[in-house]
Symmetry: C2
Subunit: 331 residues, 2 copies
């Protein structure tokens, strides 16, 4: 295993420490338990937004902490849910009197631990609501999930809910718009290579040199099926087709198109995928009015990509466009 | 070779086309010949800034086109210099009456082709100055260079010169501040894995599973020497030491610290390197007042990282902090 790490068990703590040192204008790192909040603290009367999950998907979630997006992020060990005693203080630290919405990717461990943490926080007087992200159309159940997995669509949920909270929407309204994003966003991904969890020390699965895994999850868990080497154009069609079908997109609709890298794929390849996805949507008379291309929800050093489509309306567009100041998204 | 591409010979054109489609608010792509300019066009009376070089280092350079940074970028084939007949129109398109500064990484092909292009542009009435970036301390000459190579320090040159041009400095002044960055920035990198140029189809060099190349260039050209597997802390010391020595940094000085990913390394590992570099600089009583961590000057899917230090003064700090609106840097 070749990685730029020290003791594999220290990688998350050391990485988050470095992250805090590099971005003191945006985030503050809390240790024991480990979580990340905005450098500027809470905004009185604003709904708090908290997310988190296993590490290894950077910049998700700590890279999305900041004005216009999350109030706090809770990083677990690599590909392992954070514990309730990490999450509960992050919820408490994000409560500015208007309650807290937790944004949880649909994995069994995350769901359980965020629910337990919410109960702890509510016992201490914080009102907590939760939205569950389950945008992956590849599989109905998986190794670590009952129901669909939460993947790259999480970025859109966090951005849009964050903008709603920032403009002063109340907890019910922020939860409702977050749910509206969940209802209108779908993703499918593929892997060219596997990734290696540091404390495991070997790749999470075997993928021969001449095969590609279609429908991969963000932990390297199996997808739908394997195919041989194909062109980027053909592979993009295999990702976008199920996404569009599942969304029931029709001609004349407007969408956000996100091409997300899994961590080890060059930006140039993501733009090749984006180009083809644009052409395929154009053929269906679907208009791409907003775009995002880059590494946002990754699987360590895995080579691969996912395609996410969010059906937009005027309000979701305004919220997507609203100012954001995090380390990974900024405009 | 597993890549998200179509015909290997089309990867640059298709990728840049996708880049233009994704970011119409920031850039405009020109084809035949291929170059990228700002979506908003030139600013009358502003010095034009043009850079370019072989593709495969994204987001360099097209990702740095936009307000506050470059006016135009010229992408060559992968790891191959752009041609004079690509560069000359990009220079002409960036001339708003105050002349054009070209920012050239020190590789033999780039230097020759940018010089020829400058002669063509000058024959057409554009005043052209050039700054040569040669921040890599690893080797004095290399496969593709007489003298030191230009690597990740290029980002600092483009950002700071861009800010100087934006505030209205004349051509001599912009060239002078760009040269001041060159004189005060140093970099050294390492590779954990090789990368594969699409039209070659096999890795550029062999690196055994238990060896790391210290002093690697951004094309996978050889560095100083190979070492066995070591901790991130030990490897960071091997990169930072020569950089600090070459700069002649002394206690009390302020610096920008850039930890750059080579394309295939997870963000979490870059922050582990950053953490150690901060500690080492702190031991020398060098103060890190600005930071940048991420994939900025890459080598396709290569796993590895480089450490860049720029000695700051008040003016360079102000110019670094000035607003920038590109696809890869934005604040």
């Amino acid at each position: 295993m070749k990685k730029l790490i020290n003791d594999p068990h220290d990688v998350v703590a050391e990485s988050v420490e470095g992250f805090g040192l590099a971005h003191p204008d945006v985030v503050r790192v809390h240790t024991d338990p480990l979580y990340v909040t905005r450098a500027g603290g809470t905004v009185p009367g604003k709904v708090g937004l908290v997310s988190g999950g296993g590490s290894g998907h950077e910049p998700l979630h700590a890279g999305f902490v900041g004005v216009g997006m999350l109030d706090a992020a809770v990083p677990g060990a690599v590909f392992t849910s954070p514990t309730p005693d990490q999450i509960a203080p992050a919820i408490a630290a994000s409560d500015a009197g208007a309650g807290v919405l937790t944004i949880v990717k649909n994995y069994t461990g995350d769901v359980l631990n965020f629910e337990t943490a919410a109960e702890l926080a509510e016992a201490d007087g914080t009102t907590v609501r939760q939205v569950l992200v389950n945008d992956d159309v590849a599989v109905e159940d998986s190794t670590w999930t009952a129901g669909r997995r939460g993947v790259a669509g999480t970025v859109a949920v966090e951005k849009i809910a964050g903008a709603a909270a920032e403009r002063g929407d109340d907890l019910d309204a922020v939860a409702a718009v977050a749910q509206r994003v969940v209802d209108n966003v779908r993703t499918m991904g593929l892997a060219l290579t596997a990734c290696t969890v540091p404390h495991v020390g070997r790749p999470g699965f075997d993928l021969p040199d001449d095969e590609i895994e279609i429908g991969i999850g963000i932990h390297g868990e199996p997808g739908r099926h394997r195919v041989g080497l194909e062109s980027a154009d053909a592979l993009t069609e295999k990702l976008l087709g199920p996404v569009v079908e599942d969304l029931g997109l029709t001609g004349g609709e407007r969408v956000l198109l996100l091409v997300n890298g899994m961590g080890g794929t060059p930006a140039s390849e993501l733009y090749v995928v984006y180009r083809r996805a644009r052409a395929l949507l154009s053929e269906r008379r679907v208009e791409v009015t907003r775009s995002l291309v880059g590494n946002y929800v990754t699987s360590l050093e895995m080579q691969g990509a996912s395609v996410t489509v969010l059906r937009l309306d005027d309000e979701l567009t305004v919220l997507w466009d609203a100012p954001v100041h995090t380390t990974a998204l900024r405009w």
